[in-house]
Symmetry: C2
Subunit: 235 residues, 2 copies
């Protein structure tokens, strides 16, 4: 089998930087974890918050701490550090090669889109609390077997709310993902690009919020034994 992943991120229009932080880290027992954090508000102050939460999470993940404990610790840390006054959403998406599962941890009202060969396309949308405010916040955790024809799409609320400021129709990420799956599209890069481009278009090219999308897909094809990573950023 082969795992492919892709991330695309864009900041709110006219904001100097995105308030979302995405970090990726190897898991010491095998596999990798991706951490996506959306700090409250936007720009510099949001970035400072999301950076602190993501840093704490990747540090613990790199030490082999299990995902549920990482999300709890990231909450406790932000709660203590900012006295319960500042919130962030936190998603951890892990490929755990030891348990042969994909582990999805949500502290984010925005749902996660999942497609599996067995169940088709469905949402993980049970109520979920952000981190940093309230006490004893827990993540909502789902485990999906690491099997071919699996796709997971995670995003920050900027994607969902695209178009809501300009008053046009609200963007529906799930229906767009479903239609791409029906067309046989499984490449995570195409999927995140389409989602991001469509959202930015609904905001008339000027995103009303920071938007980040990440996707992981598992396929039965088997290329060579190499691991590869590529990326770009504007300077």
């Amino acid at each position: 089998m082969e795992l492919q992943f892709a991330v695309a991120k864009i900041g709110k229009y006219a904001s100097r930087e995105s308030g979302d932080t995405l970090e990726m880290i190897e898991r010491p027992h095998g596999g990798l974890s991706m951490v996506l954090v959306d700090g409250q508000r936007s720009g510099r102050s949001a970035k400072a918050i999301s950076n602190v939460v993501a840093r704490k999470a990747v540090q613990l993940l790199s030490e082999g701490v299990r995902d549920g404990a990482v999300a709890r610790a990231a909450h406790d840390y932000l709660y203590t550090y900012r006295k319960g006054k500042v919130s962030a959403t936190l998603n951890i998406l892990s490929v755990d090669t030891r348990s042969r599962t994909l582990v999805i941890s949500r502290n984010n009202p925005a749902p996660v889109i999942v497609h599996t060969a067995e169940r088709g396309c469905f949402l993980l949308d049970e109520p979920s609390s952000v981190v940093g405010v309230n006490r004893n916040v827990k993540p909502s955790i789902s485990e999906i077997p690491l099997e071919p024809d699996t796709l997971i799409v995670v995003y920050t609320d900027g994607l969902q709310h695209a178009g809501s400021i300009s008053g046009s129709d609200v963007f529906d990420p799930q229906s767009l993902v479903s239609s791409m799956l029906e067309e046989g599209i499984r490449d995570p890069q195409l999927i995140v690009d389409n989602l991001l481009d469509s959202a930015v278009e609904m905001d008339s090219g000027r995103p009303g919020d920071d938007i980040s999308v990440m996707a992981i897909s598992v396929s039965s094809k088997r290329g060579d034994e190499s691991r590869r990573l590529t990326g770009r950023l504007p300077l």
Copy 2:
């Protein structure tokens, strides 16, 4: 301007995993850092070493510690942890958007290939000590202005030594990079893929050592404001 980067990694033939670790982290003051560590020997034991060194380095980088201090700390940490008996090579390649430079930190006898508009193609190859053994080891640090038409290629010694076991000609990464530059190739993904594929070919498809290659290129083109990341790994 736009920055593009690419990494390709493959493990020694018949080894369960690569002993090299590559991690990437956002710099809190802007930009990103890539950390590449090659642990002594190969397989599991090498992976445990490279993981510890890379983890320490990304943790400090994420807290805003400067690259030279990070390399020193990673050395001291491994030296203390393994009592000076275990070595690793360490390269840190940073895009520092605050100082507008690319910072290259080497604790690795293998050279780094650099191309700039002003100086053309040259090697960073002054003598450099690995981390973990000997006392008071320092990194060799170079700063290159963040300007268009700049390319940096960093690799572990597995790339250099490709072909040396089978007794065929020794692989020359610099001449391959030079000829790609002459052909106008600037895409870091093409560059690392060509380097890795050529090295594996010289080892008759069975790499005699872990091989990792990373490249960063700065170009004057300017796409949209998004940041993108993609990758694949065999499962």
